[in-house]
Symmetry: C2
Subunit: 298 residues, 2 copies
């Protein structure tokens, strides 16, 4: 069914009638298509469903293009990112094209779907700004971190599930909660993997987040758990290029304080809630998506 989504995206791209856009789009990695998978699993494979999945994936691709420019990220999924190869400007422009074509096609699906998805894109773009702002300080406010990852990552998954539930006449609220929990847990785990995975598996430098100024959940918990002298040391390393020794020290402190496990458990609570909601509705495939997410280690 996912191949129908790929074909629909390709058709939307061809519609644009611009050779350069076609060539650039063909260079983009397709990713896991997690949002499309959610939508199809909830709502089947009717034309409106396929279109919604295609639009959401185009919007997601647009947001990644802009994110990579904003985060100075030169690799994505172990390969050079589009901005690394074609420059930041091209990445910005291709992002704008994918966003706007996505919005145009939303109108042709349904006003309600358009509202749900475009509301999520507002949240997503506000989340990106908040992410950058928070990373300028040594943020220790867990609520701010959670709000930011909700906006930046979970809002579009929440909207994907909500739009799919709407299109298939299912209970929107439950599915949106499922999508939101999945999205927040997804980002929490991504943030954990930035610490626990090696560079090769991750496809980007490990502890990159902290070097970039991002204090994700394990860092917030670590600061709380450390004695004041060590907490000061952690703070002094924030937003800097770390030596191997400094990296080892952070990882050791995290090990000693079990903050990775604590963070993982927090993601697990959200996933368990999502699973319970779906089990109640007999949505085994959706429960399985949630289980796979908490078990992923790459």
């Amino acid at each position: 069914m996912l191949s129908a989504v790929e074909r629909k995206i390709e058709q939307f791209i061809v519609d644009l009638n611009d050779k350069e856009v076609r060539a650039l789009y063909s260079k983009l990695p397709h990713g896991k298509r997690l949002r499309a998978k959610l939508i199809l699993t909830i709502a089947g494979s009717g034309l409106s469903v396929i279109k919604t999945a295609a639009v959401v994936e185009m919007i997601h691709a647009a947001s990644l293009l802009h994110d990579d420019v904003i985060d100075d990220a030169y690799t994505r999924r172990s390969r050079p990112s589009l901005n690394a190869v074609y420059g930041n400007k091209t990445a910005i422009m291709l992002g704008d094209i994918l966003y706007s074509k996505g919005f145009l096609e939303l109108n042709a699906i349904s006003p309600e779907v358009a509202k749900i998805v475009s509301n999520a894109v507002v949240q997503l773009s506000l989340g990106e700004l908040k992410d950058v702002s928070l990373s300028k300080t040594f943020n220790l406010d867990k609520e701010m971190y959670l709000e930011m990852i909700y906006q930046k990552t979970a809002s579009l998954m929440e909207a994907s599930a909500g739009a799919a539930a709407y299109l298939s006449g299912k209970d929107k609220t439950a599915y949106m909660t499922y999508g939101r929990n999945l999205g927040i847990a997804f980002q929490m785990i991504d943030d954990i993997l930035d610490i626990t995975m090696d560079t090769e598996t991750l496809g980007k430098p490990a502890l990159h987040d902290f070097e970039e100024g991002k204090t994700t959940l394990p860092y917030i918990y670590l600061y709380e758990a450390l004695e004041s002298k060590e907490a000061e040391k952690l703070k002094s390393l924030h937003g800097k290029k770390l030596t191997t020794d400094e990296q080892q020290w952070i990882k050791m402190m995290m090990h000693n304080t079990s903050v990775i496990q604590k963070s993982y458990n927090e993601a697990k609570v959200l996933i368990d809630e999502a699973i319970a909601l779906m089990d109640e509705k007999g949505e085994k495939a959706l429960s399985n998506i949630a289980i796979a997410m908490i078990e992923r280690n790459f």
Copy 2:
């Protein structure tokens, strides 16, 4: 009436519930609000009309934010551009926020208005990419130039007029032609002013377009008009920082070949057609907007 549009935009910004966005938006120059003026002049001041004008101006502001990043433009209307003060990344993110909030609000106006405006944003973003691509070569294809300025500048004016006509039950086709002609002529004149105005009046360096690799209408006509040796010289200067002598030479050649007048006349034909269309409909105020545009010299 324009102040009602400003208030509506401010309300949309406040809706976002983000202090940083409010602060950033307050730093943006408001510009001429030409598109809002068009919309109100065509359709009056009902709530949907005000909302449409507000959305179009937010989208226009978003496109300028991204344009300034893409064109490395550090001044806008004689003042430092937002990217010059807050960095390219902030400009990209604020642009994304304004775009997405604009699209979200479009859904609340009417599906037809949403379709007209979001279609224009697709064209606008394709136009930006084409502008950058064309400027990598010494483009002498007038049709490509015209298509690009239609997409980049005229499409949103065309859509503004079309959405306003739709909202007020007027003849959409005629008003869209009016808006398109106005938009193409507006860009042609902008391109002429880049050559004829001094740096102080322009608020940016003169002959900047050609240095940036852009061969606008006067350059295309100049190349056609010059003897082969001089044409080669013109080509050799394309996309380079010009000395004062080289600038003087280009201006002298343009004077000798009357290509500025020829380009201006071409804009004038479009404006005359727009005026005739509006005169026919008794739309004096719209004819006057068109007259003011062809007479502007700053």
